[in-house]
């Protein structure tokens, strides 16, 4: 009797009904994963390398040449104004010296 019960129970446990999943469940999971970014566990060294990689210049020659040209253009365009300012400054200084001498 007990053996029969065991068999019947085993049979019932094996034949437990399972409602089938939607056919597109796997496709849904795959699609959803495409919108989820992966967490990256970086070591300290990898993080430092990644930081330096952010400043990597793809064509340093062109960058250097462009910087030089821009620097020269800026230098030439601002040089005369500086000269005027320094002249004006020297005049002002001379007037101060002269006024000091008058007092003495």
């Amino acid at each position: 009797m007990s053996e029969n019960q065991d068999e019947k129970l085993d049979q019932m446990l094996r034949s437990r009904r399972i409602e089938p999943a939607h056919r597109d469940l796997a496709a849904r999971i795959i699609l959803k994963a495409q919108t989820v970014p992966q967490v990256q566990n970086l070591s300290l060294w990898q993080a430092v390398r990644q930081l330096f990689a952010e400043f990597h210049l793809p064509q340093p020659g062109y960058v250097l040449a462009t910087a030089l040209v821009l620097g020269m253009m800026l230098g030439f365009s601002t040089a005369p104004d500086n000269a005027q300012m320094s002249d004006a400054g020297s005049v002002t200084a001379q007037s101060y010296i002269a006024s000091d001498e008058e007092l003495l």
Binding site: Q5, K8, L9, M12, L13, A21, A26, I29, I30, K32
Partner: protein, 184 residues
């Protein structure tokens, strides 16, 4: 979507997933979704909830594939069974137990109406009694009666030895036999 690497084993696919490969992840999902859905359904007795659990488990794996460590000498499926079981148990703790769906499709359409009703009733009572079992006994039962999972794999998934698993199964079945004696 065609399976790009059906010849690769789970561990090779996981290594590719860890390097961000979507096709490897897709292959893994297509390979194992059905079996993990079955397990989740046995716990939750609810199609939508079981689908959500499987989706959550796979998305957690995709999001942080570093959680899987190949050097632990565990099969992917054994480890992932544990992930799904834990998600299901968490879900059950958060929600109230679901009523057993009484309108589930019938297993065999050739049965007479009386047989069908009796069988339906048996299944409903069985699910209720399984749901009332202690957590570890329920997990052991759900894992051991899943096709394709050996007792050793089930023991590994639960983190117990084989004898402990057999003891849990024995106790669960004794309880069920007692509670279901009118149907056996």
């Amino acid at each position: 979507m065609p399976a790009p690497w059906p010849e690769k084993d789970d561990h090779e696919l996981l290594a590719l997933v860890q390097s961000g490969s979507h096709p490897a992840f897709a292959e893994l999902v297509q390979r194992h979704t059905a079996r993990f859905y079955r397990l989740a359904f046995r716990y939750l007795q609810n199609k939508e909830a079981a689908e959500d659990m499987v989706q959550d488990a796979f998305l957690k794996l995709w999001e942080d594939p570093g959680k899987w460590q190949a050097d632990r000498n565990t099969k992917f499926t054994t480890w992932f069974y544990r992930v799904v079981v834990n998600l299901c148990l968490d879900w059950q703790k958060r929600k109230r137990p679901l009523a057993i769906n009484e309108e589930m499709p019938l297993a065999d359409e050739r049965e007479s109406v009386d047989q069908t009703m009796l069988r339906d009733e048996e299944q409903r009572i069985l699910e209720q009694e399984i749901a009332a079992l202690p957590e570890r006994q329920r997990t052991a039962l759900n894992l051991c009666f899943d096709e394709g999972l050996s007792n050793q794999d089930a023991a590994d998934a639960m983190g117990v030895n084989l004898k402990a698993l057999q003891s849990l199964i024995m106790r669960a079945k004794t309880t069920l036999k007692e509670r279901m004696k009118n149907y056996l």
